[in-house]
Subunit: 149 residues, 8 copies
């Protein structure tokens, strides 16, 4: 059994690397959005031409990024959504809702400060974690039945 996992959300800390490194040796395949902030913001106009209006500048980029995002979520068995300490992160919550409607197994990763604000997202999840290490432990358990010692 290979688990396909999409890592959605925060792009300003190394939580993805922690999970990917921790999962070394497990039968997993990770995917993720483009996490280079500038590339992600400007990809639309860089390829399809400049837009004087910021709305359409962003619109072109967001749609191009959606090609990757939707493929990643559609192919995934598990979608992990990370909410960090900063920013609105509405795209993360959007991905969580999208994944939930497709029946994906959802794992939400956030600190205790966000507990009340994320209650609807957590309610749709099969697991809620505070640390990337816990997500790795979940993947190991789901694949092998082994618990952390």
């Amino acid at each position: 059994m290979t688990l396909k996992i999409y890592l959605s959300g925060e792009i300003h800390t190394d939580w993805r690397e922690q999970i990917i490194d921790g999962a070394a040796g497990l039968d997993v395949e990770f995917s993720a959005p483009v996490t280079d902030h500038d590339a992600s913001d400007n990809c639309g106009v860089a390829i399809m031409g400049a837009e004087p209006d910021k709305f359409w500048h962003d619109h072109k980029g967001a749609k191009l990024n959606a090609i990757r995002t939707r493929k990643g979520i559609a192919d995934a068995d598990i979608v992990v959504v990370r909410f960090g300490d900063k920013y609105k992160q509405w795209n993360a919550a959007f991905d969580a809702g999208y994944a939930a409607a497709l029946g994906k197994s959802l794992i939400v990763l956030h600190g205790p400060d966000h507990q009340h604000a994320l209650k609807e997202v957590d309610a749709a999840a099969l697991a809620v974690a505070e640390e990337p290490r816990q997500v790795v432990e979940m993947l190991r358990y789901v694949l092998s039945g082994s618990l952390p010692v």
Copy 2:
């Protein structure tokens, strides 16, 4: 043609009333989440019993509210999602993602300050508005072909 519309998101201003009042006479049916903040927060424990842990207190309520929310979105032709000026509003973005994955027509309603932070949500929408009045005009146009004068 009757349009069924689910009004998701902000509960601290009267945007729903503005849309519902403005749409008087149109062939529309509105639904919405419970907008009484206290009832919404405490419904789970009020009916199923108290929880000492805030996480489970919220969890019970969020799941009970999901019965109404999912029914409303599943039955809707159009999901309007309103982002206000305050709070994280991750449940609004979650609803938008959920609606998008189900192929619902999405209308996003927010002020210009949130434009960049909502670019992924807007990219999944068929219309983006700043004022409830514009949503009413859209509903009238979709139903009758009449534009505002």
Copy 3:
């Protein structure tokens, strides 16, 4: 908003009547399996002819009952599954799994003794109740936002 509710499970107590009576005045439509035990057990052979082998006697009846059961679950917004104190009740758990896979909102109703044995079923539910009265309160809240006083 009309809620369609399928009442699955135990047929030896009056829990269905308690819910239906308690929900008087709410915008709900209930459906349920045939709850006449003898009719339910013998319907297949009574209509399609006797079977000397008990397995096929039961098989004919169970399939005929499935016409009603599947219609009820497929049409429902909410499936309430009641586990009583006696019998194996595997059909109730089967209905719960069937409803969960179809994405129906699931409410499980059982006493505290069954908590551990029903943990997988409860984990798929949006609400778990011990008393029919609580299910009525949920329906009222989902429809009107009113909590019990």
Copy 4:
């Protein structure tokens, strides 16, 4: 043609090993839930933190196990559900209902004592067996057309 088979249900006898051993040489891939009883019961709290309330202790574990269970059933061509002599085994019946709603080919494995109680589950199945050996014979026949001699 590779057959993917999910082996659901009883974890206290060696029926899975009998099927897997008997199917040696066939083009099959098996998956199953975690069958270490203690790990399965405690996985949630071991990874996500202790819960004083038994309901939430079980809830966390059941949901984490659901990540594996749903992946196994969703990927399977055939779901074999075994009902043993002891315990309520509502999770087995839940899996059978879940698999049936997804249109999976269902094989039910149980002794003659449970025939009447399982009639609704059997009615949804494409085959009912009493011995693991018979399941192996079915797999061989489905793949090769060869009957037992």
Copy 5:
């Protein structure tokens, strides 16, 4: 609960009338193909223009009839398929397969002579009857729980 029933198959006896008359007073809605043999055979060319080649003559008609047939099956809760004594009746078996793949409840109606030839069709059905009267009894039981006396 209203049951929608599509009556597919044989058009040379009055089995449909027997069922419709017998079900008088029940909460049922029937639909059926066009049963006027000549109209059904010639509808395509009568409306869209003559065809010198019999294959295309039939093709035009069969496709036009499919508009009605597919609507009837798609809307139905129950599809009753009748196999009479004469003709190939491949369209009846086609409808049965079509209905089965859509998850409709299938009732097959045929005499004992066809038992072996229809075993695959019967295997996909929830009930097999020999007489229209039995189908009426099934509908009454499914709706009301009442068995024939």
Copy 6:
């Protein structure tokens, strides 16, 4: 049986009126896009604000019109697509493809000059007509089995 029919395509002749008038007395419900050319072209900017770039001017309008179009097609049993003598009419062919992928019954209406260019669209249709009168005859036949005299 009520047939729901979406009338897609050409907006410069009175083919829709011919069909709607001809079908008077039949159990049909028609829907259609907004056929006021100016309103359809400018609806986006009229409601959501002007765009200096023609592409975005059109984009806003096309998306707003899609709310109506997708609702109409999604609800329809039959989608009639009319190709006239002029213009590219790619939106008509787009609607035909959209309807085909959703499994709708497709009727294509065009003159003989377009036969070769529309062969892929016609190949996905259940009927091809040259005159609105023929579409009316089809609707009458599908509903009543009556052929034109």
Copy 7:
């Protein structure tokens, strides 16, 4: 591009071998039902135990065969259904209907004598052939664009 092809229908001539041999070298994968008539008829009782009643003897076998048949059709891109000169062959027409409802590309293979009786089946097909050689030519064309010389 690998094409997966399910070969349904007649088991008394060598049409499957002709297609498989003719397609040597093409990027195709074939599957088919068990074509050993005796094994297919008796598989149910051979594995699950004898039945005195012929109906249940056949029923057990037909359901066991359905595990293979449904897997083959569900996995296929193309379903080829062959109608021979003899027997009722209702299972072939059932498979054709099942495949059509799943949106599979359907190729029907039959002699000119059956043209009228198969008009509904042919109307659901993307191609109708009289000879296995033609099916091979279709597969070659679909994969490579090469026509027979």
Copy 8:
């Protein structure tokens, strides 16, 4: 992550080759319709026999081509639809609608002259390009996050 891409539309310029060559080294798999115009037009009659009527000549071919087209679109993550300067190209717009209804990521490729006529198609797309080079840049960005320099 492998991207599967279907290249639909214009067959008279070398845009497919430009994209395929430009994407050398990327993890992509391309598919496309048969682009040999004569073979595509005549495949039906070449394999299944001549037709005196041009409509049926075209019909046979269009349906046979649909076996390849639907497989290509169904398997694709991304559907690129190219509109050239000449011809009606209704099959391209049909493919775009078909792909949109299946939820595929749609990229539309056309020159500025067609902007207004394609506004509904563009509105359903995640990206609109004028040059094949831009499509290659999109594929590279989606796979690797790298922008053109």
